[in-house]
Symmetry: C2
Subunit: 286 residues, 2 copies
């Protein structure tokens, strides 16, 4: 057991709200911070939606447990107050180095000495902004996956300055909130999961863009050969088109740039954003 | 239904013997060719082993069906005789351009006009040796996976010269022998499956060689995140170490070259050849 009892989550977007709710659901007192009242109102809606989702999809969540989780979350737009009594701060603010640095500078000025600092950043390395905290030894990355109640990996990645005891505490905390901690031993863009997944998805999109095989054939081949439930394009549909588009359009590879064009023109601009929108590479019933 | 009734398989190694047996099991008359009597004796052993495997692992194979498949295979070391009445020749001789060319030149000289020619080559493109057949319009690649009775993909890949009617017939034939035909529309090294699989395996080996995460962590991450039954290192164990070693050692990437060194020193030279040998990245009970 860790000594962590109070957790503050900064940012209540899709993943931030899931992190906050999963932590509260596991019994921790949670403070969820976002920048203003409209953002907090949106956060309340997300939390209410998560209660419904948990009741439908998580064993044992119905009958009061999901609601009890909700009751353990307080929301605020006062950053200093949000972190004033935090044992752990998990940051899930937008993926901008400037925003991350400003946020962590403010947190570092306001949080107690004991607080552990974790960023959920997907695309930045923790060492890119560890110094902003003023306490790099207490800072690391704790990276969650979307649909946290199903895809329950929590990748723990320190910097060369992270205190090993802090790292070990965060690994234990991840386990306490029902995650499978993935110990990433060195800083690596993409951590473990995206370091594996992105090359597969790139290879699949290249086969398709180059006209080697169609989407259904590529997916079928992967499912049969590996026993995986989803082929690469089904995975794109789960992820949604926006993140793959943002990765592909900034690639140096002409094939990936062409893939980005197609994603923009035939999918994003056409409202086919993936499974959540009802259509992506495949159609999904309402 | 195709007009194919008689199929000749050239080469009775691990995959050639599986192709011959799967074809005979599906009801076709099969001639299995190899270069001399010792090779044919080994082929007979492989076929007998496949009968046992099918009886244990394939629904409906016990009670005579697997044995009946065996009875439909004739073996010979006379190449001209082997192809004299073939509707389809499937070539699975060693992956050497010289051997492939010599084999197809001999087949082209001896086979009837109607014969369709297919190579199971994994690493060469069919256009690299299509002219050796003398009839490139009747020639294409038909690529199977190991453990054909489970991994039942058959990748069908023509050259620019392949007659579309020949391509369509081979797609239908693949279905007739219980395969899922994978229509590869353009020549591509690695076809569809290895074009997807190799980047994933390279990414996994790089994470491990670079010390980012251990084998178990990488595999666990992949299984949880994608729902796949096997992680990348479990897939290496199924494939066996020799093929990944041969791919890695010829790579330009220093990380892959280092991976090749480790595979040689710590696995191949230590007799840890993968699941079939009882040990690879993991240990397997006898």
């Amino acid at each position: 057991m860790t000594d962590i009892t109070t957790v503050t989550v900064l940012g209540t977007g899709v993943l931030g709200s899931q992190i906050a709710y999963a932590t509260a659901y596991a019994g921790f007192d949670v403070v969820a911070y976002d920048i203003d009242e409209p953002a907090l109102e949106k956060a309340r809606e997300r939390f209410a939606g998560l209660v419904t989702t948990y009741e439908a999809e998580v064993d044992g969540a119905a009958g009061g447990k999901a609601e009890a989780g909700l009751a353990r979350i307080n929301v605020t737009s006062d950053l200093a107050a949000a972190v004033a009594d935090a044992d752990l701060v998990i940051e899930a603010v937008p993926e901008s180095l400037e925003i991350k640095r400003a946020t962590w500078t403010a947190v570092g000025a306001a949080a107690p000495e004991r607080t552990i600092f974790a960023t959920n950043s997907s695309t930045l390395l923790p060492s890119d902004f560890m110094e902003a905290t003023g306490r790099p030894d207490r800072f690391l990355a704790l990276h969650f996956a979307n649909r946290i109640w199903v895809q329950n990996t929590a990748e723990v990645m320190g910097t060369p300055k992270t205190d090993p005891a802090v790292y070990a505490t965060v690994v234990d905390f991840a386990r306490e909130i029902g995650m499978v901690p993935i110990e990433v031993k060195k800083e690596r863009p993409g951590y473990v999961l995206n370091s594996l997944l992105v090359p597969l998805l790139n290879a699949a999109s290249a086969l398709w863009v180059d006209g080697v095989a169609d989407v259904e054939t590529i997916d079928k081949t992967w499912r049969i050969a590996t026993g995986a439930p989803l082929g690469p394009f089904q995975i794109f549909d789960v992820i949604g088109m926006v993140t793959p588009y943002n990765i592909a359009r900034t690639s140096d590879d002409p094939t990936q740039q062409k893939f980005a064009e197609i994603l923009k023109r035939d999918f994003i601009d056409a409202g086919k954003l993936g499974a959540a929108s009802g259509e992506g590479f495949y159609s999904y019933g309402a």
